[in-house]
């Protein structure tokens, strides 16, 4: 039997600004995203009584967003941070809050503005020296940002299980195929293995094309009760199951955080809430900061055995002709990078049946959010049916 929260809340509004080299402040992008979500949901601003806020890398959105939005009164308001798992987390807390009657319509919003006019993409996340003297050795060793750690995850997978560079590349290629069907995707030109291998190395085994895009933009998602969602402007997308799990790398051996992510724990809990089995999942929207993140997350959820992810993805099953359509908008690798909002936006579009030529069976959509280095994780199971 499904958990009592299953199908009790739904997503009724989605607002997405222009993505990419949009040189506006994250606060302005967040503000616009909320207004777009209200319009999409057919709601008047006065009906919005909850706001959950998350900012990205630049931290240029804060609690004061309610002022930018002219929201004089709210019943629920907070700023949240769980990195790439934040978006999924916000929707989970919003679902529980509307179910408990704390608020009727809660908007979850994210925006980021790392790209600056006249600066290269590669400089977007530069700077930010670590203040503590011993940790300040890390950049001298060559550790900065997330890329070295995820690259080490991929290398550990390769050394342990024989995973190949072509298999990582196949993930980038399949997502690019999807992006070709998404007019809002940043990178749409077809990609093959030759061009993947020709892409410059960043931290080997990662080419540039193994890494997500860098994007400016804002996304807002409005959550309400299942009852309210039934008679609104957009088809409701019900939240059938959710869970979180968080693994912390505390600088000690004896565990394997690069091969075993928190999705291992979150997946079964979310499925249990929905009273569903993994085989019921008809499509995946997987957080894909790197190609390897997709591979290890699919393993963590049990779509294949641990270690078999390379062979699992290589046959094209994630792509447009595949049996497990995954990241059908192009994902963070090819569409745009809005942290956990990227997979959620596509989950909502697909859940509404508004995917156009890329629409896939949407009976049960697995959406994952991932932050840190496979540390912070949020799972959502979305569906056009409440039960």
């Amino acid at each position: 039997m499904a958990h009592r929260m299953s199908g009790k809340a739904a997503i009724c509004g989605l607002g997405m600004t222009e993505m990419g080299r949009v040189y506006r402040s994250a606060t302005d992008l967040a503000t616009e995203a909320v207004f777009l979500a209200l319009k999409d949901a057919g709601l008047d601003k006065s009906q919005l009584d909850g706001l959950l806020i998350n900012c990205g890398t630049t931290r240029n959105v804060n609690l004061g967003l309610h002022r930018s939005l002219g929201l004089k009164e709210l019943n629920v308001l907070t700023f949240m941070q769980g990195f790439g798992s934040s978006a999924g987390q916000m929707i989970q807390y919003a679902a529980m809050a509307v179910d408990n009657g704390m608020a009727d319509y809660i908007c979850c919003v994210f925006a980021d503005d790392p790209l600056k006019e006249g600066k290269r993409t590669g400089d977007a996340y530069a700077g930010g020296a670590r203040p503590e003297a011993l940790a300040s050795l890390y950049p001298i060793y060559g550790f900065a940002g997330a890329i070295p750690m995820y690259a080490m995850g991929a290398q550990r997978h390769m050394d342990t299980y024989g995973t190949t560079q072509d298999q990582l590349g196949s993930i980038a290629i399949q997502q690019r195929q999807w992006a070709g069907m998404n007019e809002n995707a940043t990178k749409r030109e077809p990609l093959d293995l030759d061009s993947y291998h020709a892409s410059p190395w960043v931290v080997e085994p990662f080419h540039v094309l193994d890494c997500c895009l860098v994007s400016n933009g804002g996304v807002a998602v409005i959550v309400t009760s299942a009852e309210r969602a039934r008679d609104m402007a957009q088809p409701p997308v019900y939240i059938r199951g959710f869970a979180q799990a968080h693994n912390h790398d505390v600088g000690q051996g004896g565990h394997d955080p690069l091969l075993e992510g928190p999705g291992l724990k979150a997946g079964p809990r979310a499925l249990s809430m929905a009273d569903a089995k993994l085989e019921d999942v008809t499509q995946c929207q997987i957080y894909d900061c790197y190609t390897y993140t997709v591979l290890v997350t699919l393993e963590d959820y049990g779509f294949c055995e641990k270690g078999e992810g390379g062979a699992f993805v290589e046959d094209g099953k994630l792509g447009p002709e595949g049996s497990l359509p995954t990241n059908t908008g192009g994902g963070e690798l090819s569409s745009f990078y809005m942290w956990g909002m990227t997979p959620i936006t596509e989950g909502v579009i697909q859940g509404r049946g508004q995917g156009g030529e890329r629409q896939c069976p949407n009976d049960l959509i697995l959406v994952t959010g991932n932050g840190g280095v496979l540390n912070y994780h949020a799972t959502l199971l979305l569906s056009p049916e409440a039960a």
């Binding site: 011993l134 940790a135 080490m152 190395w201 960043v202």
Partner: protein
Amino acid sequence: MSDETWIPQPSEETQPFFDGAKEGKLRLQACGDCNAWFFPLVHICQNCGSTNLSWQDASGRGTVYSWAQLQRPYHPRHRDRLPLILAQIDIEEGARLNSNVVGVEPENLKVGDAVEVTFEQFDDGGVLPVFKPV
């Protein structure tokens, strides 16, 4: 080798780490109550909450948990030595350290390989602990 100053200025708290490196020792903090070892600096044992921490010389031996190859320099030390091998090393004492593996070609390195500490000397007097295959 670059002669640019690269080493962080040791603070009173971190001086033992840098003194140890100059003496050819991997000197780290260890908890006197539960024997957990740490890098970088802690003030409270992450394992048991004790403040009974002291600087101890580790064996310097460990294994490669994972590794990758830095292919783009962003620090003076990285120039002329790409690919630089980044690695997480599980030292015998239990901590997992971010470091480099030197003295090996990437095609000859594998997860699980045994390594030991070695020290890289810089023109400005700085010394950096790194690891090499045993």
